[in-house]
Amino acid sequence: MTSKREEKMKKMFGKPSAESEDYAAVRELFRHHIESFDHFVTAGLETMLNKIKPIEVVDSSTGTSLAIWFGKPFLFPPQKEESKTARGKLLPFECRQAKVSYTGKFMADVYFKYNDGPAIRENFNFGQLPIMLMSKLCHLRGANPEKLVSCKEESSEMGGYFVLNGLERVVRLVILPKRNYPTSMVRNSFRDRKEGYTDKAVVIRCAREDQSSVTVKLYYLRNDSARLGFWIQGREYLLPVGLVLKALIDTTDHEIYKNLTCCYVEKDESCDVKKYEKGKGNVGTQLVGERAHIILDEVRDFITRRQCLEHIGGHFRPLMRGLEDESDLSVVGEAVLEDYIFVHLDKGFDKFNLLIFMVQKLFSLMDQTSLPDNPDALQNHEVLLPGHLITIYLKEKLEDWLQRAKKLLQDQINNKSKTFDFCSLVNVKKVLDKNPSKHISLAVENMLKTGRLVTQSGLDLQQRAGLTVQAERLNYLRYLSHFRAVHRGASFAGLRTTSVRKLLPESWGFLCPVHTPDGEPCGLLNHMTSTCRITSYFDAQGNIRNFLNIRESILTVLSELQMISSVPKLVQAGPPANLSVLLDGCVVGSISSKVVEKVVAQLRKLKVSASSVIPDDLEVGYVPLSSRGAYPGLYLFTSPSRFVRPVKNISIPSDEGQNIELIGPFEQVFMEIRCPDGRDGGRKDAFPATHEEIHPTGMLSVVASLTPWSDHNQSPRNMYQCQMAKQTMAFSLQALCNRADQKLYHLKTPQSPIVRTSAYKKYCIDEYPTGTNAIVAVLSYTGYDMEDAMILNKSSVDRGMFHGLIYQTETIDLSDQKSRSDRSRKFFRRSNINKNSSIDSDGLPYVGQTIKPNEELYSIHNEVTNESRSIKHKGSEPVIVDYVAIDGKKLLQKASIRFRHPRNPIIGDKFSSRHGQKGVCSQLWPDIDMPFSGVTGMRPDLIINPHAFPSRMTIAMLLESVAAKGGSLHGKYVDATPFANSKNVNEETPPQSKTLVDELGEMLKVKGFNYHGTEVMYSGVYGTELTCEIFMGPVYYQRLRHMVSDKYQVRSTGTIDQITHQPIKGRKRGGGIRFGEMERDSMLAHGAAYLLHDRLHTCSDYHIADVCSICGSILTTSFVKPERRVGRAVKGLPPIRASKKVICHACQTSRGMETVAMPYVFKYLAAELAAMNIKLTLQLNNAA
């Protein structure tokens, strides 16, 4: 058993046990996506189908009824339809190249049952459902690197995304409120709900087994009562608490009263209470009793449960699908309770207990004996996983399908058409064909393609758009970050308050504090730390968890541990004396507050031990008694899609690594976890640490942990680096030759960094290196390195430093281009006339050929007109044809051409070190003019200005330079893992005598170099020694994707706007850059009047207008056509140009016509004003 446990741990923390498991740590980063989809495939889909309620169609004339419901689903791996009989595997790379979707057939049994007859099973095809790569249905599942390469994938392909129309799309992880946990909230919007409401409520998001959820809110009223609110079809309905309590179980007012007031014990009842009275943990006050009275008083007219149910049923009958005609109101009432109130619980008794708990929590919030929960804290959050999103979306679509089917059938019955026989299943099926079942999968595909939910109900989600994003393969780090990103929700992006963006201590260890973009999505788009995982339906062995069994075994363990079960209806004393125990949102009992800490410790022990049935990711959220703190209780969670991370449990003797415990953000807040530096971190003896972090770098995301010695940098610089790492032009893909991405950046000559953190090896970053070890000299040399500019050595660039490429793929599908008017078929073919063109005989360009702008690219043949037309290459720079792929059908109609743009460094390209120090290349400086080191003769690859350092304080960059110099001299990599010195420092060992700098300096000194990394250098131009010693060493530099070639904008003359006659904007269209107001102001300030005039008038919309000086109008002028006088032209002389004659329409004369130079917009303004009946007149004089 222990060996099994070890294996499990190995799997979780990526200790490679064999060579083939090199990618285990990387795979771990993607696991939550794949596991959630695996669950959808293996169990989730079936559970969901079973949860869909049958519909019943009744033919009122004959009285026959037909029930339709779903049975077993069948999901197939993606198949290729080569012909009608032969089928082959459809591989992801084929989808990417052919721009189709990676989908598998989705079939399901649908049962039909007439009256009480036998159920008839029919198999329906629900279309092609997108299949996640590397999921159980993917052909790549379990493939080793060799197999993956033979499938034309990356050897490290991780999957976790969908291929839709050739694009790779990832479902974004979005934060949701933690399921099945009642949170107390204070929100002003609650007060505005209705008259009499306060701003306080307790909210619970209840999730069903099939992941669909219903949020229930318990509002507090100003008259000391409470209302239960829930949403049905986009409207909120409110019920008095008393009514719901009575409707849930058969009970008495006394019982309810006792239950509600159990959290408050009057002073004189027992001496035991006195102990708690002054101390902490008093949740109830004497007001509780009065409120209970009020709650009961509100519903005093309802005595029995049936009465309550009927009352509810009466109000909700029109809203309940399928129960509109139900005559028994209590059935409707029960359906309302079942479908909308505490849907995570089945039994009325459990719901009753939970409601009591919530009311008590609400009262305590009101009396300020407990604090509201922070809805922005990670403590109260979980995450939306791809599998779950698809499940709930598919559920709604299938329900809609059934409803539409019902409506269609009902219509047919009502129409009483002769051809339709309700009792014939064939006829019924024919009617159902009008409601195409294949659209179901299409809806899911469209949802994943656009990220937009098309739904009426909103699925209890906060947002309807932006749920999926494209997984850009710009570089490996960016790609990887897509899978680790957690978004707070699109609805928060527009919020003006910044509180949601705050970095809260609750997210310690789960979300990376460094890796968030600055600017608009700052704090909303977070990234999980490298150790953070998300719980799933699968245990470490890959078996699906049976949550019922797990809960049961937890219950038995708890009752062994002195928990008083809530099953026999006994009223227990509330908090100070006893704490409620909630297991996944079900009040399972209470536990004496004296023993609870022991129970928690015992639970944690069982969690970690391999032999117990308690899952290792159980969240033991023990909220201790406190005076006016969080509401106390013991909250246990086993549910999936929670955040967890490993820490060491030091209260358990550490034998064979069995002390690694997975903790969640809810429990973490109340735990004592110390840093592994061996010190107590200011902890008092009263709170000894029970847990210890595994490594301090566990709090960083993968990208952030790649910054060397990030603990020596000013913190914002590390943030900038996280962003820039993701915009780096790097070695993007190994299977480049099989890809048809729209745009790919590729660095030709990458290197592995000399100075690297331990994460480089763990996450196989060397497979996709992102930069070059450039020899960097820090000096002010030519002046061309001012203001973050940097000088590149021309010879280094000549030799291949930072050489790069952009791959661009153009896909042409001629079958799409078919316009409605002409039905002619078009295909690729070279025209017969022009044989020596640059186009191959198939009408497509030759591979390897350079195509300049406006050269022929491909040629299309029209079958009907028998004409060939060649299409020219658009774009402003020459491209090389890298690859041409055709769709292998008979007629050549679909082709994709991949182009290659060489992008070697030029002035204006952007580069950055790994420390947020970006700069623009200002010169490619000749090698001989660069300063050179007297000893080695080395010229730097790159010169940066020393002013880059003082204000930015990127000390780690200096350290990197020294370390890399030492490392390259000694021929080994240098470990630059941050916080390395705060790990495993025992109290006995004296504080480290050697600092990091000493260590690095020593490395240099041994090899005869200056201890501080400086070198004596000589001017390359004069050969004289430079007065200063220059700090020089290799620094890993990244080339960023922002390149001038994509950005430069040039215009002298060109297209103008039709209305204003001013130059248009936009680089693509050859427009200009706006010379705006601020620029105008600076021109004015300089007194550069001529320049201003040139910019704003001459080069803009210069216009000579004819103005009538008599009436002053510029609009009433018109040309008079000069009469053509024939024969007056003298032979040999140019024809006399008839003088233009302009007359004023208003004055009917041309006497007063003058020409005036003005901006054309002025004339336009005059016209616009005229449209508003405002006349604009000019008075002309010659004064100037």
Partner: protein, 318 residues
């Protein structure tokens, strides 16, 4: 003004000479000459390098430009380069590589037929001129590995093929680094190190040792027998002032006096193999001479120089 000559007669003393490495002293001249020599060696001594590549078949993993770039960087033996013509100046041809005066043609044909990857190296480049071939490193590496294969251009898998024609031309490092014959050329001023023995004797043994240790390079040594500090290798001194700083820190400023001799330089030349290091120096001097010749006034340029006014007068020695 008249009569005074600044002419100096520099002396060169060769210390060490191998095919690709040379160390020599240059005396009785100043930094401008030394640096000019360095600059010419790096950027202006011509070599031959592949400049035009016509690719017939390329089914390798690297794309055409990448292979062309790699080919360009392969050093070719360029002893003939000095006598060759730049193809832009060549009258005999239009630069298509058919001309013996300005270009050399290469062919490369490689196809992998086995399951093992085939390394296509510089050895596979077949030259049309036996004097211009890819540099062979095998003998300089001391014959230790008999299968020195040359510089790898690309690796081929089964079925992949590379067939191309390349034309090498004469060029200089200024235009592109591939034409640079020098890997490294550097010089340093010869140091003159004098230890103040009086002060040195005042130091204790440990202090002496510490002082000697303070230099990262082994310039000084401590003789335990005589208890004296000696200069063992003045040229190892890198002008890093470490020993001077150390002496000051020990309260003995002036313990050592180090002066850079303004007129003597120690050169280190490393060649890429295209030209022998010694030949590189000779060629550099030749080029430098030619450049000076171009500057030197000849009768037919006097008129032109009049246009330069004062500058012309200055150049004429006025």
């Amino acid at each position: 003004m008249e009569g005074k000559s600044y002419q100096r007669l520099p002396r060169v003393k060769i210390r060490e000479m191998r095919d690709d490495y040379m160390k020599f002293e240059l005396r009785d001249t100043d930094a401008s000459v030394a640096n000019a020599l360095r600059r010419v060696m790096i950027a202006e001594v011509p070599t031959v390098a592949i400049d035009l590549v016509e690719i017939e078949i390329n089914s390798s993993v690297l794309n055409d430009e990448f292979i062309a770039h790699r080919l360009g960087l392969i050093p070719l033996t360029s002893d003939r380069a000095m006598s060759m013509r730049f193809s832009r100046d060549c009258d005999a041809c239009d630069g298509d590589g058919q001309c013996e005066f300005c270009s050399v043609e290469f062919h490369l044909r490689a196809k992998c037929h086995s399951d093992q990857t085939l390394d296509v190296t510089s050895k596979d480049l077949l030259s049309s001129d036996h004097t211009v071939v890819p540099v062979d490193f095998s003998d300089s590496a001391g014959m230790e590995s008999s299968e020195q294969k040359g510089i790898i251009i690309v690796k081929l898998r089964r079925g992949q093929e590379l067939r191309l024609r390349a034309i090498a031309r004469k060029g200089i490092g200024k235009d592109h680094a591939k034409w640079s014959p020098a890997a490294t050329v550097t010089f340093m001023y010869e140091p003159d190190i004098r230890i103040n023995e009086e002060l040195m004797d005042m130091l204790t043994l440990d202090e002496k040792k510490a002082w000697v240790e303070s230099s990262p390079t082994k310039v000084f040594d401590f003789d335990p027998k005589t208890e004296k500090v000696m200069v063992v290798d003045p040229e190892a001194y890198t002008y890093d002032d470490e020993v001077i700083k150390k002496a000051e820190a020990m309260g003995k400023p002036g313990l050592v006096d180090i002066i850079a001799k303004e007129d003597s330089f120690i050169f280190t030349v490393e060649s890429t193999g295209a030209v022998k290091a010694s030949q590189l120096l000779l060629n550099a001097i030749e080029i430098l001479k030619q450049k000076l010749d171009a500057v030197r006034l000849s009768e037919d340029t006097v008129e032109a120089d009049d246009q330069f006014g004062e500058l012309g007068a200055h150049m004429r020695g006025g």
